[in-house]
Amino acid sequence: MKRRDQRSCGMSEAIAAPVSGTFERAGASPSEAFEALYRRSFPRVYGYVAAMLRDRAAAEEVTAQAFERAYRRRRSFRASRGTEEAWLFGIARNAALDELRRRRRRAAMEHEPVDLTAPGAEEQAEDALRREAVRAALARLEPRERELVALRFFGGLSHEEIGRVLGISPSNAGTRVHRALEKLRRECDEDA
């Protein structure tokens, strides 16, 4: 997935710099490795959680909670069970689902997350309309479908990583993502 490595989302280059490999790298302590994971995945985790919860304050709280949990459990990570991102997104997903279950918030999004990549005034109105249409179509998707889109495009995970997070096979994850994307496309076309 090319976007995964290209995305910076307004963070500094140090934060967005991708690092591959296992959690405990040669010459790096678990804390240092975790910091590297944090810097390259924080905005993506936030994007995914925000799309799940649709509440800025809750998304911030859950994102922070997910990183705290991951930091405490950083020694329990096993590379044989998947990538660091899959492990981290699994923790974030559980935290988000716990939050959803606890607060029973679904549809009411009080505050739309601020789009830090929003274009300036010079951008064409057509693009703005297009984004609004996609946002609206995304909001109409089923939560499970929205989660798949969020994992794939906001979280930047591969099909294999999505499969790890959701507990399904990579091919199944790919099929589900494809179906969710097609549904999203149809929703957008209907709006248009």
């Binding site: 924080f42 922070a64 705290e68 689902l97 959803l100 789009d115 495009f153 999203l184």
Partner: protein, 352 residues
């Protein structure tokens, strides 16, 4: 024209700069957990628990094994005490004398009823205050030697016993396929010759074990003597009454009782003679065994036996522990899986 994927990337929710700064600060601090209001936080020690837990478990295991072994030793000691008590009960007198007197006093008593009890009951009179104590002495020798020498040793045992004024009451030599495999001798020697005889016998072969014991039978001896005296007195009395008897019935009754008393006197004499013999002659049992070629390694063998025994004890303990731990673990795992599945389903339901 932008694709849907491009637009999705553009609308990705991005964190607020203040939140980003806050997370940076938290990252620098190592993500401290937020303080929970109203609930005291339990601070766990920072050490890695695995080695500590292993050491604690090993110590606990060793303690349990030690306790089990100690308990076993106590059981053994307890059974030894019982044996000693049983041996000691042989001393003392029969209160049977009173039973006999009652039988004799009854005119219709039979001779069987009048017989003295063969073994005195426990806790009988120990005859305190008697100056001349009667002690039955028993010694046991286990001699280890070359089986080819057993025949010579056997002859020497007979010779030594005779020289010390004693006699052999029982002897046996066990013959194996090629040679003698063992032997047993039951000797009687005068009490004052016991130690010299034991010393002579000990020189015949390697002494594997030598035990000596003494049992005070003064009570039994005195009781037998008193009962014999009383029986004689009774016989004298019956004889006088017989002389004065005028009716045929009285004569017959007295004659019947005299016969009983006569039998009793004979039995008591025999017992007294036997008791005197047992106290005047010590009993020596000699056991001949095949000399173990690996006798010099006996300590090593013993140590190996102990090690094997310890391992067996440990294995037994582990089996018992597994018998408890295994079902508990299976149940615990089942509960954990069920709870985990329920929690997962509850989470997934929040997406429905």
């Amino acid at each position: 024209m932008k694709t849907l994927e491009d637009v999705l990337e553009e609308i990705t929710p991005a964190p607020d700069p203040d939140f980003v700064a806050d997370m940076e600060r938290r990252m620098e601090m190592g993500f401290p957990a937020p303080e929970k209001r109203g609930r005291p936080r339990i601070v766990l020690p920072s050490f890695r628990p695995r080695p500590f837990v292993a050491a604690a478990a090993s110590t606990l295991l060793a303690l349990m094994v030690a306790v089990a072994l100690t308990q076993e030793g106590r059981d053994d000691a307890g059974s030894g005490a019982v044996v000693a008590q049983e041996a000691g009960s042989f001393a003392g007198d029969a209160g049977g004398g009173q039973v006999e007197e009652r039988a004799l006093a009854a005119p219709d008593a039979t001779s069987a009823e009048a017989l003295p009890a063969p073994f005195p009951p426990p806790n009988a009179d120990l005859a305190p205050g008697v100056r001349e104590r009667r002690v039955e002495r028993v010694a046991n020798l286990i001699l280890a030697g070359d089986p080819d020498e057993f025949d010579r040793v056997s002859s020497a045992i007979f010779r030594i016993t005779g020289n010390r004024g004693g006699f052999v009451t029982q002897s046996s030599l066990t013959q194996g396929e090629d040679a003698f495999t063992g032997g047993f001798f039951d000797l009687r020697v005068p009490v004052d010759q016991l130690q010299p005889a034991l010393n002579d016998l000990s020189r015949l072969a390697t002494v594997r074990a030598r035990t000596e014991s003494g049992t005070d039978v003064t009570g039994t001896f005195v009781s037998l003597r008193d009962r014999l005296r009383m029986a004689r007195a009774l016989r004298t009395s019956l004889l006088r009454r017989l002389e004065l008897a005028t009716t045929e019935a009285a004569v017959q009754s007295l004659q019947r009782r005299l016969a009983i008393v006569g039998n009793r006197i004979t039995g008591l004499r025999s017992q007294l003679r036997d008791a005197r013999s047992r106290t005047e002659f010590a009993t020596i049992t000699v056991e001949l065994v095949n000399e173990d070629p690996g006798a010099s390694d006996s300590e090593t063998d013993e140590a190996l036996d102990d090690a094997v025994g310890s391992l067996e004890d440990l294995a037994n303990f582990l089996i018992r522990a597994l018998g408890v731990l295994l079902p508990a673990t299976v149940i615990g795992m089942a509960v954990w899986f069920v709870a985990r599945g329920a929690r997962r389903r509850a989470r997934e339901r929040s997406l429905a």
